[in-house]
């Protein structure tokens, strides 16, 4: 990283420090009630206590697990559906309206139904998360498969490639950047799905914890949980970026 990049990063951290200090000062000077807006120091203490006592960990693990299971299953299904729709015009015409219909219904509105079907707990939330991940992967895979340059398809026909060979050796590799962009969108949406899913149908997880802190009016702890959710989201996003960078190495490396 060059010097300019370091300066910018330092500037970014400095900005965060200034904002937190201003927040702290405002809370003290204006004597805001802790119930409405706790100062950063109180949030930090609550966060530390929750982590040190081990109170937060099971909830964090549950949400992380739901996120992982939801993203993996939803993305895998979306990817496969994208291939099925991209490869067959008949399937596309037959099933596309149903896929779209299933997506325009707000998934979170289906939460109570899933609780009825799958009970309180991990399963309902995973189903909601998976449903949310499904669509970006399906759409991006479908589009990627249909946007292969006609000249390349002719090349593969000229070389006597079968449909399956064309799919594996041409369409999927050339569509990889678009498909992985879909995955990135899916991961971000999935965290929203997991947390809000927990609002409705779970007693464990960071979403459930937010509701619990609301009940006990412990606003500082609520903020601490929001910090954890943000951290989990950043980690998940960075992990997706790393995966993407690794999978796209043939497109970028120069040795």
């Amino acid at each position: 990283m060059n010097r300019n990049a370091w300066t910018l990063r330092a500037g970014s951290l400095l900005l965060a420090a200034v904002l937190l200090l201003a927040w702290e000062a405002a809370c003290r000077a204006l004597r805001l009630p802790v119930l409405v807006l706790p100062p950063p120091s109180a949030i930090a203490i609550s966060l530390w206590q929750g982590l040190a006592s081990g109170y937060f960990w099971p909830h964090l693990r549950t949400t992380a697990l739901e996120l992982l299971l939801g993203v993996v299953s939803g993305s895998a299904l979306g990817f496969l559906a994208g291939i099925a729709l991209g490869e067959s015009a008949t399937t596309r015409r037959l099933l596309m309206p149903y896929f779209v219909a299933s997506q325009v219904v707000p998934k979170l509105a289906l939460g109570p139904l899933f609780v009825l079907w799958f009970g309180f707990g991990v399963t309902s939330t995973v189903v909601i998360t998976a449903l949310i991940c499904f669509f970006p992967l399906m759409e991006n895979t479908l589009t990627a498969l249909q946007q292969v340059a006609p000249e390349r398809l002719e090349l593969f026909r000229m070389l006597g490639a079968t449909r399956r060979q064309t799919l594996w050796r041409l369409k999927l590799p050339s569509g990889a950047p678009a498909i992985l962009a879909g995955l990135r969108v899916a991961v971000v949406l999935a965290l929203v799905g997991a947390v809000v899913g927990e609002f409705i149908g779970a007693t464990r997880g960071l979403g459930a914890l937010v509701i619990a802190t609301q009940g006990t009016m412990d606003t500082a702890r609520m903020f601490a949980v929001l910090v954890l959710i943000a951290a989990l989201g950043m980690v998940a996003y960075q992990a997706t970026l790393l995966l993407e960078r690794w999978l796209l190495l043939p497109f970028t490396r120069n040795s």
């Binding site: 000249e151 090349l155 026909r157 070389l159 490639a161 050796r169 041409l170 043939p250 490396r253």
Partner: protein
């Protein structure tokens, strides 16, 4: 018996008038044919009919060779950017089976013949346009096709690179005895490369001109015979009438 013959071939894209309208063409084993014509005259469509990429609505395309015995070079190099140069050249083989040691050696040798021996492990994005065209040519020649079809492969290159590639294409095809059908709109290119220039007009072969030049060195481009043949092709394309 010609290696490839087109007999009264007709073809139209859906909703359009005939692009190819009664074309007759015979390509003898070992010959080098150039199809020359204005934009939209149907020469690329003719080439795709010859390749079997398009099916004629009437008439016959007869190729006396085995399946996959045709190499095709497209207008753009059309390389797979996520594969290394050597893997791009090996594509016609690896698509169907694991590349044999013999095929690997042949791919490397083709790259060396085309001056790219040191670039085998690079990616296409690291090569210049001319180098990419060479890789595309090597790929088309990997399986030693008896017929090589080229669709304006050098049109996007600068004049110097184009001349080098013409020289190398000619040398490579001579060495292997490959029969060539080459589409171009560049008259000098056609006269330099071909032993038969087929002038395409309104979807059929309007005239076939046999080219007999004293050798194919770079100097032949200044030979009076070369100039005469160019004038003949220009006349067949009605260019002289416009100039007058």
């Amino acid at each position: 018996m010609p290696l490839l013959s087109l007999q009264q071939v007709r073809f139209a894209f859906p909703g359009w008038p005939l692009t190819v309208d009664g074309a007759d063409l015979e390509v003898e084993q070992g010959s080098f044919h150039c199809l020359v014509g204005r934009s939209g005259c149907g020469k690329t469509t003719l080439l795709k009919l010859a390749a079997g990429l398009l099916q004629p609505q009437s008439g016959r395309v007869v190729f006396h060779g085995q399946a996959r015995d045709i190499g095709f070079v497209f207008q753009s190099p059309n390389l797979l950017e996520w594969q290394r140069v050597i893997d791009n050249v090996l594509l016609p083989a690896t698509l169907h089976h694991r590349a044999t040691e013999q095929e690997r050696q042949r791919a490397q040798k083709l790259l060396e013949q085309l001056g790219l021996g040191a670039h085998a492990a690079k990616y296409p994005r690291q090569l210049s346009g001319g180098q990419q065209s060479r890789v595309a040519l090597a790929r088309a020649l990997l399986l030693q096709p008896s017929l090589l079809l080229l669709d304006e492969p050098f049109a996007a290159l600068d004049a110097i690179t184009r001349e080098e590639l013409q020289r190398d294409l000619l040398a490579t095809c001579r060495r292997s005895g490959t029969t060539v059908l080459f589409v171009t709109h560049d008259i000098a290119e056609a006269v330099y490369l071909a032993d038969r220039v087929d002038v395409v007009e309104d979807g059929r072969i309007a005239q076939e001109i046999a080219i007999t030049l004293p050798g194919r060195s770079a100097a032949v481009r200044y030979d009076p015979a070369f100039v005469r043949f160019c004038a003949q092709v220009r006349a067949a394309l009605h260019l002289e009438a416009v100039a007058a």
